[in-house]
Symmetry: C2
Subunit: 176 residues, 2 copies
């Protein structure tokens, strides 16, 4: 994993990939699958995301105010779906699915080494947590794995239906 400029973090989240969200609470790491997220600000990078109170990760995120968002490539899709179909209440998902946790730099939650990019995040705002389970996170450190060159991501369409990134296209644009 190498440093990724914080100014580039939005390029990972804006395209809407299915991501993994890792937490660590009371000495126990956990990971969930998430698709309800968006960019809120470029710099410092702010991410809005919904982590339902029904998710086991909710309590860990709220208590520790930290997490890691990992971006998995398409090759991990089966593991990503499996992670989303069980709860950290019942099992150690890192161990059950052979995911590799590595120490992060700025937060206690682990990096997910299997992901091609990882974003260390701290909670920046909880104003909409009570009503919508909507957290505003600040990315405080970003990582990219240069060894992972296959970076097609996964998009969720509901009920086991996914679509993988296909053809890239470049057009003249002044939009950042």
């Amino acid at each position: 994993m190498r440093d990724l400029a914080l100014s580039k973090a939005y390029q990972l989240i804006e395209p809407g990939p299915v991501v993994l969200l890792a937490t660590a609470h009371r000495g126990r790491a956990n990971v969930m699958t998430m698709s309800w997220h968006m960019m809120v600000e470029f710099e410092p990078p702010l991410i809005g995301c919904v982590v339902s109170e029904a998710n086991y990760s909710f309590a860990a995120l709220r208590a520790t105010r930290e997490c890691v968002i990992g971006v998995p490539a398409a090759g991990l899709v089966r593991k990503v779906v499996a992670v989303g179909n069980c709860s950290g209440r019942d099992i150690d998902k890192f161990s059950a699915f052979g995911l590799t946790a590595r120490p992060a730099n700025r937060v206690a939650a682990p990096l997910i080494a299997d992901c091609f990019a990882n974003l260390e995040c701290r909670i920046a705002d909880t104003k909409l947590v009570g009503k919508y389970d909507l957290f505003i996170l600040e990315v405080v450190k970003a990582w990219s794995d240069p060894a992972q060159t296959k970076r097609a991501t996964i998009h969720h369409r509901g009920f086991g239906s996914f679509v993988l990134d296909g053809r890239p296209i470049t057009l003249k644009s002044t939009m950042r």
Copy 2:
């Protein structure tokens, strides 16, 4: 355009497509390109999105509390990028880019007939507008165009770089 069940609206937004957001204010329709959005609730469908105060659409959205979100297929990518690279302050974008506005059912903002799906939205919450330009919208009516069968969507990676939906994949999953 045919009715789309509100319970299926999330399947359009969750995969993170670039969308168009149409408003109508003081007798004038406008449209912008947006990628900072996420689902917040299944039913009624709630969508979080960031419409910057710098965007001409911001004032129309805040004043009228209504908009339409259209989901364009990959074939529209050049128009979608062109819409994002100019301002309704200067031109009538529907006319300039040959987009077809049609009357919506529940809101004054127009449907974008060129899009394969349209979501009529009303503002549900403005608590985070002051700080982050973050609106919570409720989808009050959804439309799908059965004549448009090519539904690969567009994802933005920054600075003119896009990726189009590729291979669909279906896996066993209990996730809605």
